[in-house]
């Protein structure tokens, strides 16, 4: 039983630098989780204890509270590390065991926990000095170590699987979800009684929404003519055509621009020099930043730039499409089979020839599938982008919504627009799904 660990091939305890990455990772996961619990507790204390509540739950903690929160969460993370298989340890596949791969006793765990504090203080010595037999201080003093579960699976005592509600992780996860629902319900002002109490008042709206009024489907709407609203589509159908063409144009323009950019954003195409790597990182950053800003937010900017109208919508959708397709395309380029490329390169082909005849034929089908998928998304977005001045069928939707209370059947008109959107979006979704299936 008491064999020296160094003589075993597998199951070496994690030591020094090699250990630190995963150890720190696991520790920070636990610390962050306890930090989240602390946030929730402080929020709840503020909410139920203080009479004065700031807008959107600004947290008030006394000055001496901050050190307590920080040190307290730190201690809790260490305790959960030492005494239990915490979420952080599980996430990184680590396990605290004695040096002969048994579960440590309570006393050993306590020693480990206490020595950890000394170890933290002496960390520089441990790391850069000769080290205590290559082990961290608290490992050494408590005769325990942190092991990768996959390394020591065979030596570990076989544990009988327990029901999830009896494991440490299961209980903590349930508590975290419960806490999240509690705090989240307060933060997002969830008000079930309003939902129920006001339901009868919305009956007229639901009644109108299920009886759409299609009189303006193709015909000119006299109401709109009276209002002399030149930027409103003449009918639901012409609004629909506008949205369809907006989505089409954005996808075509976005695809054409994203195609060359995707090669600049692919690791295996650009990793030939430091300049190439620089371009790669710039493209990656561009794709990620532009993609993070939804096309509706881009719509606000372009509505200021080129004025309200479908053109602003096209530009907003195009910009988002370039980034989204660029990322998807470049991931495809990175995932290609390098075999043919190497064969071509070794037979003296130039770089552009390799791309032209080796890369492009491999990626075209998946590029097409992604582009179709994107067209689908763009159509969905083109139906609502008029909210920020982007034109399309949504212009009528929000116009009629604004007329609620002024014209008697406004909700029926809204329902007609929604019905048309549903049919077209569903149809395109179905068609693009079928075509994508064929391509793959």
């Amino acid at each position: 039983m008491a064999t020296k660990p160094s003589k075993l091939r597998s199951g070496k305890p994690l030591t020094r630098f090699g250990a630190l990455k995963t150890r720190f990772g696991a520790f920070f996961v636990d610390w962050a989780l306890w930090g989240y619990v602390a946030y929730a507790v402080v929020y709840l204390l503020n909410r139920y204890w203080y009479t004065e509540i700031y807008f959107y739950g600004r947290l008030t903690v006394p000055t001496w509270g901050w050190p307590i929160v920080i040190l307290g969460t730190l201690e809790l993370a260490v305790i959960s590390h030492a005494f239990a298989q915490s979420i952080g340890l599980s996430a990184f596949g680590l396990r605290v065991l004695t040096q002969d791969y048994q579960y440590p006793s309570r006393a050993a765990r306590l020693r480990r926990y206490l020595w950890w504090h000394v170890s933290l203080l002496s960390l520089p010595i441990t790391l850069f000095g000769s080290g205590l037999n290559n082990q961290l201080l608290h490992d050494q003093m408590s005769k325990t170590g942190m092991f990768r579960i996959k390394d020591v699976k065979d030596e570990m005592p076989v544990s009988t699987p327990r029901a999830w509600y009896k494991t440490n992780r299961g209980v903590v996860a349930v508590l975290l979800i419960a806490l999240t629902i509690w705090v989240g319900g307060l933060v997002t002002q969830i008000n079930i009684s309003a939902l129920i109490d006001r339901a009868p008042k919305t009956a007229y709206m639901w009644k109108a929404l299920v009886t759409p009024d299609f009189t303006h489907l193709f015909a000119l709407d006299p109401e709109l003519a009276v209002n002399a609203n030149p930027d409103l589509p003449a009918s639901i159908f012409s609004g629909l055509l506008q949205s369809l063409f907006m989505a089409l144009l954005a996808t075509v323009l976005g695809g054409i621009i994203a195609f060359p950019l995707s090669f600049l954003g692919a690791r295996n195409m650009m990793g030939f020099s430091s300049l190439g790597w620089a371009i790669y990182w710039v493209m990656r950053g561009f794709f990620n930043i532009v993609r993070s800003i939804e096309s509706l937010l881009w719509g606000i900017i372009f509505a200021i730039w080129v004025g309200f109208g479908p053109f602003a919508g096209v530009l907003a959708l195009s910009v988002h499409t370039i980034a989204a397709l660029g990322k998807l395309y470049s991931e495809q380029v990175e995932g290609i089979d390098p075999g043919p490329l190497e064969a071509m390169a070794s037979s003296g082909a130039r770089r552009w020839q390799v791309i032209m005849y080796g890369v492009i034929p491999q990626v075209v089908p998946s590029f097409l599938a992604f582009t179709l998928y994107r067209w689908d998304i763009n159509l969905r977005m083109a139906t609502v982008i008029s909210l920020v001045g982007g034109g399309g069928i949504g212009r009528l939707l929000f116009y009629y919504k604004g007329q609620v209370g002024r014209i008697p059947n406004a909700w029926n008109q809204v329902a007609a627009v929604i019905a048309v959107i549903v049919v077209v979006v569903w149809l395109l979704d179905y068609l693009s799904g079928r075509v994508r299936e064929k391509i793959n």
Binding site: T180, I190, F245
Partner: protein, 407 residues
């Protein structure tokens, strides 16, 4: 019995099915060509009206003129070249080895106009070919029988037509969406000021922006958590392979239709409806995301259920397991990881959606971003955008990493 009569006394049993097939193929080819040409005509007249006359109308001539022209053009196209419909449905003209020149094609085009009369011979003649084929000995045959001449793409009429259709569609799109490159370039300087301010965020708003961000993340989180609770049981009802009996299939159809319709309505439109219901705040935003997430997650979940391995299910059923045990031990272990992965993906999308749902008044960081934009306070808007970018990026990264581990 038939053998007792002399040859020619009785004809063969008419094979209506085969003749119908031939007619159906030809009609579809013709229909495709007429639709393609009408589309081309409509868009071309739109472009003419839009760019030459400055009016946004799709029609110049009465619709019946367009139809006659399209029909005649389709006839010419099908008689003198390989039309789009012929290419798509695999038909070619062939003289079957006999000599045929341009005159034959002209003759066939003229005789083509009596083609509808061939419908009479559908019942009385054993010949499958219509009269214009038989009179000119120029038959429409399956593409496999004919050797294709290879040439550059612009020598092939259907490829030309496709290029024309694509080109004119993009041109029409330019017209319909009021593309105004002049404004794009001349007004760029107007936005210079805005860009400068957007890129110089007002960091004094970091605290309040962060609190709004917490609201946004919680909106996505609440919508996702509550949606799982509904979507998981619904997905079992919406899986074709688990639907049993008439009632099961009826439920399957109803659930599928409802989630398709719900999914097609964007979360922003849902937010408008819920704003009427529960008034302003983050709650209508949560409800909108919740409803859209239910539909989306049910679709993703049930598609996964439809592709499970039936082996374990049958094994448990054979060992005498009841329906609950089959689900618990045969199905759940197969779907738990994909379900988690889909949920993470949906949470990622919900965070993105939550940042824009504020535009209609759904609360969170999007709402104040939109308000700052409205009052032209671009430095504050820039701060909100910065926070959105960081959050969306990191959650995207986190969820991608976790999903990669789950798969």
């Amino acid at each position: 019995m038939q053998d007792n009569y002399h040859a020619g006394f009785m004809t063969d049993n008419p094979d209506f099915g085969k003749r119908f097939q031939a007619i159906r193929g030809r009609s579809l080819v013709f229909l495709t060509d007429v639709i393609a040409l009408s589309y081309l005509w409509t868009l071309a007249s739109y472009c003419w009206n839009r760019f030459a006359l400055g009016i946004g109308s799709y029609a110049t001539l009465p619709w019946w003129v367009m139809l006659i022209v399209a029909v005649e053009l389709a006839a010419v196209w099908e008689n003198f070249g390989v039309s789009l419909g012929m290419r798509l449905l695999g038909l070619r003209l062939s003289s079957r080895g006999e000599k045929s020149g341009i005159a034959t094609h002209i003759l066939r085009y003229i005789v083509w106009h009596i083609a509808p009369l061939s419908l009479i011979s559908f019942f009385f003649s054993s010949q499958q070919a219509p009269w214009h084929d038989r009179l000119t000995h120029l038959y429409a045959v399956s593409a496999a029988e004919v050797e294709e001449k290879r040439g550059p793409w612009y020598h092939t009429s259907w490829k030309n037509a496709l290029a024309l259709i694509a080109g004119i569609t993009v041109l029409t799109a330019f017209g319909v969406t009021d593309v105004n490159l002049y404004a794009l370039f001349t007004r760029a300087s107007r936005t210079g000021r805005i860009w400068v301010r957007l890129l110089n965020p007002d960091f004094s708003l970091l605290g309040s922006g962060f609190r709004l961000l917490i609201v946004t993340i919680y909106m996505a989180l609440m919508a996702t958590i509550f949606a799982i609770v509904i979507a998981v049981p619904l997905s079992f009802l919406a899986a074709r392979n688990l639907a049993q009996g008439v009632i099961g299939h009826a439920i399957y159809t109803i659930v599928r239709v409802v989630i398709s319709v719900t999914r097609s309505i964007d979360a922003i439109i849902w937010a408008i409806i819920f704003l009427v219901w529960v008034r302003v705040g983050a709650f209508p935003g949560v409800l909108a995301l919740f409803v859209h997430s239910i539909a989306d997650l049910t679709k993703l979940y049930s598609e996964r259920l439809e592709s499970i391995d039936p082996g374990p299910v049958e094994a448990i059923r054979a060992a005498g397991g009841n329906r609950l045990q089959v689900i618990l031990y045969g199905i759940v272990p197969q779907i738990i990881n994909p379900y988690l992965s889909f949920t993470l993906y949906r949470w990622d999308i919900n965070v993105r959606m939550a940042t824009i749902i504020g535009i209609v008044g759904g609360g969170g960081i999007g709402q104040s971003l939109y308000q700052y934009m409205k009052v032209s306070d671009y430095r504050s808007a820039g701060m909100m955008m910065l926070l959105i970018v960081i959050t969306v990026w990191s959650i995207d990264y986190l969820s991608a990493r976790l999903r990669a581990r789950l798969n």
